[in-house]
């Protein structure tokens, strides 16, 4: 299985990690396409149910960043 086919959901805080991901884009720093960013208003919104739902729907991994 190639890295491209993997799905890793990155739950990012709007104010820090999401901005960091944005900045990475702005700076043209490459990161693996397997990581899909989902914006949360705050990492405090991150929930076990959200992660379980992601895994149930076939996500290969999840990361919370903030």
């Amino acid at each position: 299985m190639t890295q491209d086919a993997l799905q890793i959901i990155a739950y990012c805080c709007e104010h820090c990690a999401y901005a960091a991901a944005d900045l990475a884009g702005g700076l043209r720093i490459q990161y693996p396409p397997s990581v899909r960013v989902v914006m949360l208003p705050c990492t405090g919104k991150m929930d076990v149910l959200l992660a379980l739902k992601a895994f149930e729907d076939g996500a290969d991994g999840i990361m919370t960043a903030g």
């Binding site: 299985m1 890295q3 086919a5 993997l6 890793i8 990155a10 104010h15 820090c16 990690a17 901005a19 960091a20 991901a21 900045l23 990475a24 702005g26 700076l27 720093i29 490459q30 990161y31 693996p32 397997s34 990581v35 076990v48 992660a51 379980l52 895994f55 149930e56 076939g58 996500a59 290969d60 991994g61 999840i62 990361m63 919370t64 960043a65 903030g66």
Partner: protein, 58 residues
């Protein structure tokens, strides 16, 4: 995060599939690093076993 990992273990998934990273808005480099680290780890673990079961159903 620990609770989620204990749940994954109970379900039969690798707890390493979930991880938390701490970073600030200015840490583009660290975000990329985290994304790479996570991709490496998950590549090592292989795809979510639930996915292949889903295909079986189709």
């Amino acid at each position: 995060m620990e609770y989620l990992q204990s749940l994954l273990k109970e379900i039969g998934l690798e707890p390493e599939r979930a991880r938390m990273f701490n970073l600030s808005a200015a840490m583009a480099g660290k975000f990329v690093e985290a994304a790479k680290e996570m991709t490496e780890k998950v590549t090592e673990l292989g795809p979510n076993p639930l996915k292949s079961k889903m295909k079986d159903e189709r």
